[in-house]
């Protein structure tokens, strides 16, 4: 096994395909990213670049017709890509929690908010017991649980109320509401309460603020910032908003057509972008007070059923070289920079032996 890059999460050479009638969609084409405990990694890119598929793969929530064909997803000491479903369920929700873009759609519409959070907490406790059992004596079945863990006596309701308070909601008013009675901002707060109730080590946030107004977005980001700093939770933030990534994250992974084309600290990506796609993307972002013209990237995002050969960006790249359509560029560290920046890029322009 190769050396370990991040002590919390290390995704390497991850390939995911979707078998459709139109052909095989090669959604992820060797994704590389990693993070340490307590770090915040932003995955940015445009629609269809594989951000969400990456997030779902880490939880192994890719469903038919999709499947992981290659690669490893090391989470602490486990490889989530090959772990059995039983053991995986002790990780999902417990060690890795997830929040989504459409919070109202992610909640159960016929269950009161408080009850949903309590259910989640109890479920986590159950799987924690299962996990302990698994460590001691191999697989255990549901009947191996003692009665104590099935009842609500152990304070799940108190935890739920505490969590609602921490996300800025009044539990007396909120716990008996149904999801349709919540505004988008409140629903996202409930989702955060639910996700963080199990004190996960990693929170995956898939476009958590994209459906919200800017003022509510600022509230939610501020809240998330405070909560995860308090608990030292690592965050994998999927977003298309460069501003959100720039302000919230420590590290950035830029994705294009199923590849991480550039990875590094926020400072290195924004101050010294190397990949032509990253450069183009940053020049296309409008900004208050910006006076120069916006630049766009010519061409369109490729069809992933028959992606371009070699570097998938080559048909749109202004710095194309002869080798670009032949081989896929390796994902390599940028030598001139500090190791702490972890700046990596997949582009022939920076390949060492050329």
């Amino acid at each position: 096994m190769q050396y370990r890059r991040g002590d919390l999460l290390d995704v390497s050479n991850l390939r995911v395909v979707f078998d459709t009638y139109a052909g095989q969609v090669k959604a992820l084409n060797g994704v590389e990213l990693w993070m340490n405990h307590g770090e915040r990694l932003g995955v940015v890119g445009e629609t269809g670049c594989g951000k969400s598929v990456t997030a779902l793969s880490v939880m192994r929530l890719i469903e038919e017709p999709g499947r992981i064909t290659e690669g490893s997803i090391l989470f602490e000491d486990k490889d989530l890509a090959t772990l059995s479903e039983n053991i995986l369920n002790t990780v999902r929700g417990k060690d890795i929690a997830m929040i989504f873009q459409e919070p109202v759609a992610a909640l159960n519409p016929v269950m009161k908010v408080g009850a949903q959070i309590v259910e989640n907490i109890e479920c986590q406790r159950k799987s924690a017991v299962l996990a302990q059992g698994a460590r001691k004596a191999g697989p255990v079945t549901d009947s191996g649980l003692s009665q104590k863990h099935r009842t609500k006596e152990t304070g799940s309701v108190e935890i739920m109320r505490d969590m609602l308070g921490r996300v800025g909601l009044d539990w007396q008013r909120t716990e008996n509401l149904y999801p349709h009675e919540l505004s988008g901002g409140m629903a996202q707060r409930v989702m955060i309460a639910m996700a963080l109730s199990s004190r996960p080590k990693l929170l995956i946030a898939d476009e958590p603020t994209s459906a919200l107004d800017v003022t509510i977005q600022a509230q939610i980001l501020n809240l998330l910032n405070n909560l995860v700093r308090e608990t030292q939770t690592a965050v994998l933030l999927i977003t298309h908003a460069m501003g959100v990534a720039a302000q919230f994250c420590d590290f950035i992974a830029v994705m294009y057509a199923g590849n991480v084309v550039e990875y590094g600290s926020v400072q290195s990506i924004f101050k010294n972008p190397l990949h032509p796609y990253t450069k183009g993307l940053l020049r296309a972002v409008p900004k208050i007070g910006r006076t120069d013209e916006l630049q766009s990237i010519p061409g369109i995002v490729p069809d992933l059923i028959s992606p371009p050969s070699g570097c998938r960006f080559h048909p749109r790249c202004p710095h194309r070289r002869p080798e670009c359509d032949k081989n896929q560029p390796r994902f390599e560290p940028v030598r001139e920079e500090l190791e702490a920046d972890r700046h990596h890029v997949a582009c022939f322009l920076y390949q060492k032996d050329l």
């Binding site: 445009e46 800017v214 003022t215 509230q219 298309h240 400072q267 900004k287 208050i288 013209e293 766009s296």
Partner: protein, 331 residues
């Protein structure tokens, strides 16, 4: 209103006075209706060949305002004068002929194009209605307009589902432009698009405005887009314009606390720039039961006693710069 300062009236393309739109809501057949005050007493003017930006949170009434201006929704009260013509007094027939001069491009390019019509039909239909052209002439004009918006001739016989989001928005732009309008309402024209596509569309809209001396009313929630496109800006909150002025008035000499907090809410897209982290608390209240006094008072950090009881008027701070606040900032 902006004309009051130094600009001549002949510069004005659209003059809206005291526009109001109330939507009646009934709990049941017998109950007395409650009114959603979607647009409540909005007055402004749009100068020729400029971009008038309207910005606000969802539920602030910006889309309704855009539709009321075009009489796509009938206003409850108020008037819109379009280049000396009072739109509200036009009969249906007159209005239909007038529609050629004012067009709309809406947010969602996936729903705004008829799925079972080919591009030629989508774009050419308006031409046939307004200009009674022969089939060859329609063909010719559709071809021309397609090249102008960056599509090709062969796209004429394709259906909307065969195009990407950016291409569809180009078709919507072509459809509006082909009638040679003077005024276009852009209702969140790029909200459904990726940033790199957004950059292309915004640039194109700017160039088209210059080449065809168009006037835009740009409705968006994205302040960066407003800053890039607009000349004059109106900030809306709960159906009312709370601040109105030139782009620089709004961004550099912000007067209304709401506008200021709205601008501070946008995370700057570079890590080196510090995000002020000022947070606007609470959420936009229901437009049915609007707060007393200043509508922003429950969320305002500078709230005083008078704000709770007395509604401020939209008053002129500097020539052309208006704010609806008892205690405007920077004054």
């Amino acid at each position: 209103m902006q004309a009051s300062a130094d600009r001549e009236d002949s510069d004005i393309l659209i003059q809206a006075e005291h526009l109001k739109k109330l939507f009646a809501m009934k709990k049941n057949f017998y109950s007395r209706p409650l009114y959603v005050k979607a647009v409540d007493d909005c007055s402004f003017s749009i100068r020729k060949n400029t971009v008038f930006g309207i910005v606000g949170e969802s539920g602030s009434g910006k889309t309704t305002l855009g539709r009321v201006i075009l009489r796509l929704i009938e206003a409850t009260d108020g008037s819109v004068v379009f280049d000396d013509t009072d739109l509200m007094s036009l009969s249906n027939k007159e209005l239909r002929l007038f529609r050629r001069r004012m067009q709309i491009i809406s947010q969602d390019p996936y729903n705004s194009l008829h799925p079972r019509k080919v591009v030629k039909k989508l774009i050419g239909e308006g031409l046939q209605i307004h200009f009674q052209l022969s089939s060859q002439e329609v063909d010719e004009r559709v071809k021309n307009i397609l090249t102008l918006v960056g599509l090709r001739e062969e796209h004429m016989y394709r259906y909307p589902h065969e195009f990407s989001g950016g291409q569809r928005q180009r078709i919507a732009i072509a459809r509006a432009l082909v009638l040679k309008p003077e005024f276009i309402v852009l209702d969140e024209p790029t909200s459904a698009l990726d940033v790199s596509v957004q950059a292309i569309i915004l640039k194109m809209l700017k160039e088209l405005k210059r080449d065809f001396s168009l006037t835009y009313m740009l409705i968006t929630h994205d302040l960066a887009v407003i800053d890039y496109m607009a000349d004059d800006v109106a900030v809306m909150y709960l159906g009312q314009i709370v601040e109105l002025g030139s782009k620089d008035d709004i961004f550099l000499r912000t007067a209304h606390p709401y506008a200021s907090l709205l601008i501070d809410s946008v995370p700057p897209p570079t890590p080196s720039e510090h995000w002020s982290g000022k947070i606007l608390n609470g959420e936009i209240p229901s437009p049915i039961h609007v707060p007393s006094g200043c509508r922003f008072h429950p969320r305002c950090p500078q709230v005083q006693e008078i704000c709770r009881t007395k509604e401020p008027v939209l008053s002129e701070l500097q020539p052309g710069h208006f704010a609806k606040c008892h205690f405007p900032l920077n004054s």
